[in-house]
Subunit: 497 residues, 4 copies
């Protein structure tokens, strides 16, 4: 059960990136790769290919981008087959900006021309010293065509005095701070890079003679590529013809060596359960989240003839719910997994809400309850997270209509209290329910109108995400402990990545 787009009020996804080198149908492969990463960004998509024109003995970059799902943007096969020719390609899924009119300028991958030739870039993450760098660049006469922080990287590369292109890119990446997983297409190579903290995932794969990189490994499964490993935090990996032939890819490292801090929210909600990120299967971590939550905050039947019913908020909490139920039963509780919420997958970008008369229509067009399994029961809802609280409250109201005996809300992460500066689209602090209620669980419980409410503890969260090699995580949205400081309060514009 793929985890992806959520209704208003939930964290919206933040970009998926993909690249392939040395494949005769690079655009087609990228199309499939972006489709597998669709959950990371549904608002716009773009593909850039690099094509060698034998008659002119030169490289041409072909570009096609548009607003909508990958399948909508590339619904005409001619785009992939005729317009996007070439054996190397990068692609990007993104979520929308508020300023619709300038939208098209912010759709990635960006493609520019500079003294070193063509350069295209797809970025997942957020730069934290964006404003400082932008001010400096502007004072030196640079113009900006997008409001995206990603454009900075291109300017820094172009302005580097170094000779080699890879050195220029390295210099640029040593100047930017924050979160970035990147795919860069040059006239001769595909470059994959990741910030020293490794906030966002980025994996390397191989299919036949071609190399491929993707935000998540589920993209490799679709195209039939073999997972090789992660692009390491701080690594700049160059995939070029020589690398293809020798089998040895050139690897450069950014000369900053902080302790990696992976985004733990990728495990909780954002990545697909069938992906492997940060060296671990998402599905496995998510199962543990449910298991530890069951230990930490169990719900017990009142009597022998009572039955506790556990329902998931599909599809994103399905895996954790399974863990919760299995562990509860192992602990001797008589709880039963039930399908209590049916989700409609027809609610997409174009769905209009013409009926003002009821705000709960929003949640109802997406979810319906199966009354038989809820009525008269002690119901546990397992959800992955609570952000604004709006959707959770509507969901609870919906379930209430099915007349359960009690509602127990269980959340597979701690309260979200801080904004994310590294690429997760949380709202401002004021809108977060945990902040609005001053982290007072009882207040949140009353606002949601549930009988009990429990969040997974930070200890259990870290325990669930513990890996053999001892991964470290960014938990800033829960703890306020930011691995990289912001140069100033991030404006909405800067968040657009």
């Amino acid at each position: 059960m793929t985890e992806h787009d959520r209704i208003e009020g939930r964290p919206r996804c933040h970009c998926g990136i993909f690249g392939v080198f040395n494949h005769p149908e690079a655009a087609v492969i990228t199309y499939f790769g972006l489709h597998a990463l669709q959950h990371r960004g549904q608002e716009a998509a773009g593909i850039i290919t690099s094509e060698f024109l034998p008659e002119k003995s030169k490289i041409r970059f072909n570009s096609y981008k548009g607003v909508g799902l990958v399948a909508d943007v590339f619904k005409d096969e001619k785009i992939l087959k005729q317009q996007l020719k070439g054996s190397a390609a990068i692609g990007h899924n993104r979520y929308s900006t508020t300023g619709a009119s300038e939208n098209e300028f912010n759709i990635q991958p960006f493609v520019v021309n500079y003294k070193g030739g063509n350069l295209a870039l797809g970025h997942n993450g957020n730069l934290t010293n964006f404003h400082t760098l932008r001010d400096t660049l502007q004072s030196e006469g640079t113009i900006f065509q997008s409001t995206s922080d990603s454009e900075i990287i291109l300017h820094l590369t172009a302005r580097s005095k170094r000779e080699e292109q890879i050195e220029r890119i390295k210099e640029a990446l040593e100047l930017v701070e924050g979160a970035y997983s990147l795919v860069i297409l040059t006239d001769t190579s595909l470059i994959a890079a990741r910030d020293p903290h490794g906030f966002r995932p980025l994996a390397l794969g191989k299919m036949g003679d071609a190399y491929t990189v993707a935000s998540e490994t589920c993209a490799f499964d679709l195209i039939g590529a073999q997972y090789i490993g992660e692009v390491e935090p701080g690594e700049i990996l160059v995939i070029d013809q020589e690398g293809v032939e020798t089998g040895a890819l050139k690897s450069y490292h950014i000369t900053k060596a902080p302790r990696p801090r992976h985004c733990i929210f990728e495990y909780i909600y954002f990545s697909r359960p069938d992906s492997k990120i940060f060296g671990e299967n998402v599905d496995k971590v998510r199962r543990k989240l449910g298991k530890l939550l069951a230990q930490q905050a169990p719900v017990r039947p009142d009597s022998n003839d009572d039955r506790v019913v556990v329902i998931s908020v599909p599809d994103s909490s399905n895996t954790a719910t399974l863990g919760f139920v299995t562990e509860s039963n192992k602990m001797g509780e008589d709880v039963r997994l039930e399908i209590g919420l049916i989700r409609s997958h027809y609610v997409g970008r174009t769905f209009i809400m013409p009926h003002q008369a009821g705000r709960e229509f929003t949640v109802k067009t997406k979810f319906n309850t199966v009354k038989g399994v809820i009525k008269g029961r002690k119901v546990v809802i397992v959800d992955d997270s609570i952000v604004r609280g709006t959707t959770s409250r509507q969901l609870v109201r919906l379930i209430q209509e099915a007349e359960p005996k009690e509602i127990h809300f269980r959340v597979t992460c701690p309260p979200i209290k801080y904004p994310c500066y590294y690429g997760m689209d949380f709202p401002s602090r004021d809108e977060l329910i945990a902040n609005r209620c001053n982290s007072d669980l009882e207040k949140i419980r009353l606002e949601l109108r549930v009988d009990t409410l429990a969040y997974l503890s930070m200890e259990n969260l870290l325990e669930a995400a513990r890996t053999e090699n001892g991964a470290h995580y960014c938990t800033a949205c829960f703890s306020g402990d930011y691995p990289v400081p912001m140069d100033r309060e991030i404006s909405k514009d800067a968040n657009d990545t």
Copy 2:
């Protein structure tokens, strides 16, 4: 986990109908109703409203139809608010015809003008004496503008010599045979009718002063209507202003009284699990299908340290899988429910398949495996049905790549061996795997390449669908026992409903 559109090779859905009377925003309500019924037909949608024009003291019928999902066809709010004014409306979801060019003529509801005024009709089902009636009508000088059998009902109504419109409709319905659940809009009323066998579901609901009818009750949940009961087999229910005011709706009955024969496949696959049809919750029946299948064809661990993993083909077999697992455990088997297949919900109408090089791409764009839960395990796949077998074979191959120890395929209905003449879109006999393999289970098993294969027995199927009031079912697709004969081999055209 809603059950709806399936990939190529599966039964495609066959129309959802909806109607509302006496609501100031009839089109908006119908829009939401059709959205809830989207799984019954994703290829085209239409809404007709009847609007009283005070300045002309006359009724005008407004119509809007188009190709695509409900949300796509009605993506401009102005259509619902300005173009489709009126306090009564009917709507229809349909699946596509092959002949794209004549498509628009076949999109329902149909709307015509005859001596009795305006008439609009939405039909779910198939008429079996279509050819005979069409020949007769044509010989009398009738012209046909669609290739749909539904148009027949309008002609018969218009040609009836009876005085009262309701009598004309009754006469028409006594002439047609086969399956029909209908919503009819007249200048003064909304009429809901159902064939004497009650093949397809049709429910009546009430929201405030308005009445509403829908193929399934999940539509009532979305709009907040109360379920009153089924439109009875053979009933013609007239909802008009008088009925609204007195609270007593006029009910007529078709003078044929066969034993009702509900389509049992609605329970198995087609209806949503959160709906109540034929007087029973779909979810409940589907659970029993899984339970009885577990009893009939259990899969046992080989040894103590072995573990059987049961996975569902999401979303349509989720409920039955839950029943299978619960019952298995009750029987003492150590089986575990796992989420082994992740489904992408981004594969819609516009999804192109540019890569010829691999047929399995089709299933891969829709499903991915969670390798960790499959590898090395004895895996049970629970699916609702097998039609052509193509998708099942591809699914098995996909799961095979995750290296399970064994694959055991369990199907929650008997082998499908006969076409449906009453509205379910099965392919021709030659294409059904059960026919191709002469009902030889071992042959089918080998074709699917699974370790064991079991279909639910007819006895268990009927047992699962047994209701207190002793419902009878049409099981023709399994048994060849057709309650109503066909007037001649149904052509592709006649199937277009």
Copy 3:
């Protein structure tokens, strides 16, 4: 200079029809034919082809219609090449209905299926006994799917008891009254028919082995067909394989023999000047209109050093203006033709008028004056007709801004005082300026604010249109002398042809 669409307040065009038989690319030829007839209807277009399917040994009718110009509706070449296969085709251009939502049902050609096979029909004109026939047919149980009078012909054909299809069509045409030029496609033939009065034009042509029919001969010029002659008033011409092979087309005649009455307004405004209709070149007649108007209502210089400037309202009065100027000079007046109005051809269907602040924007987006040729001059504007007067008044105001000495308005037809029941889209009597001003020329002149105003006299109009073979004309819109009475006041619906 082609005469075609006019701005708000002018007579809008009323359908062009085209047909071709025995051409391997019938749809492509029809596409070009409709393009040449675009001026007769810009709101919607449709093409029907009849295709022989060898594998099924049967005929299939393919249909494609849409809203917009021919080039917009058929902008995808695949529609013409792949979807509309077949060696016979008919096409139709139409103007829009008010009821946008039911629009699609009224787009012609209509295509139906009846006992005699497939039947498609394209109609130019209006039936006058539409209501009587519709009432009769409805009382006999016929349903109507469009609001168009053209559908009647199909019903009458289907209900005829005669054996032969051609006899059925003949019977149907003997029952309808009014104006019709028709193209009918059957399973085996293309039929062209024209009402006994011959209100609307219809010509027959030949290109290689193919026959073609068109509203105007300009369509033949584009496709390179030879003009053979007119389809005669009252003639039903059958073009089938036998006719193609023998070179002798079967001709039937409607057994009514009134004196033909061609629509004289086709010469004045509606047809293209490069067409030959009713046996005469439009350009030639239009020249004479100008010539006789110059004789009837000359404008003379005040003195020797004065100069009269004659300007045309492009493009529709260009030819008549040339006649006016030539004749004036022949008469010894010193008048000079000038290009005083520049017309923008970019004002199409999608042009929006966002600026409320000025009604004259409407005319300004279409016309601009060339100030140098107008300033200080005695200006004669030659226009083809005045309907509501709104546009004329705005045009005069526009010219006034260029500061002419005087403005003399000359109209190449008499005042329009009566509605047309035979297919020309004039507004209701109340809206016609000649009626609003009680045919008082002085009142009209004051309303238009011109120095002098003259309309061509009826005598001169008939003189200009006089042909060698003594054609007779319908002049009802000027004289109220209707050759065929209306069965009742025509509603807006009936006008939709």
Copy 4:
């Protein structure tokens, strides 16, 4: 008769620009302005507005651009009214690039952000030192996002070390060479600028309290603005709030003072006849072109009973043809103006040419002959120019089919032998018929298959364009005398303006 888009093989138009300052509906006014300038570029259009946001006390630039006619791009009124708010705006019409995929990046106006705030630019013309400047900028680390030369101006402005924005722009314009008429929108002003040679026109107007600039004055007529005068060659005119209030606009001058060299082809073909450019009415010049051509190369009747017929190629040669006829008659020749070619205005961007079988279809879909006026006559065709010769040859063939006695081709300019580096889209030298035939008139005549052929002499061309204030012209396309040299052979990319 407006002069605008031409069929394949003719010079395509090269951009129209428009700006308005201090008008509450700046976008609406720009929409109308661009509509009036539509003939200068039909492939794409864009509008940028600057909007003051009181709640944020800052300026926001709003942008909307798209492919197609102005009316198509802005067909939704909401774009103009809601999305493009603000009291200052600039707009641009452009013709298409070959590289469709990167098209959107090349649609103007460009809008960027730099240290001085927002900057938007619309450019008509071509820069000649584009390559040199681009190389320099790139070597300093500048990235380019379009392939347009116009982007250079923005980079140079941003990189200027001067303090004042106007000084920066001035510096930038002193660095670029070639042809540019510009509208620039800044946070506080609208700037209009023109290169020192004044190659392209640019006019200043006033409507109430608002100022407006436009490529041609016909835009002022539509919006009701008063023409004030030209933006002078080398002038940078700043329209800001202070200027609005004081009535005195600030004017800066580029410190290069070559003799102005206006593009004489604007008079011959490109501008609308109702515009005033370079201080003279286009209509007046074009009349003289025809007059002098009649003197230079008259066509005489063979005998008394013979008649010479002069026909124009509508709409672009209408005015010159009138001059030709008037002068011929004044000279005593008995020639007669006739409308011999009817032009269809329905051939737009979407028109497809499905029929391979005949190349002459292209010209036939656009033109048809009026046979009656041509047959048996000595025909003179007056055309504005001959570029490749393809269209002329097809036109002659079309006329030939109408069986004239003789065809005499007259061209109102000299042979085009050299490409234009200043913004006119002529093809390469090899494709120009005058080059292909080595300027041998007899060879051209034979290729066109006409009886006589004459081009207007250079002397007569300059005489016709002679103005009181002694304007100087660029005649490079005829003479090869380039006022500004090119930095290197211009690539296709550089032409894209």
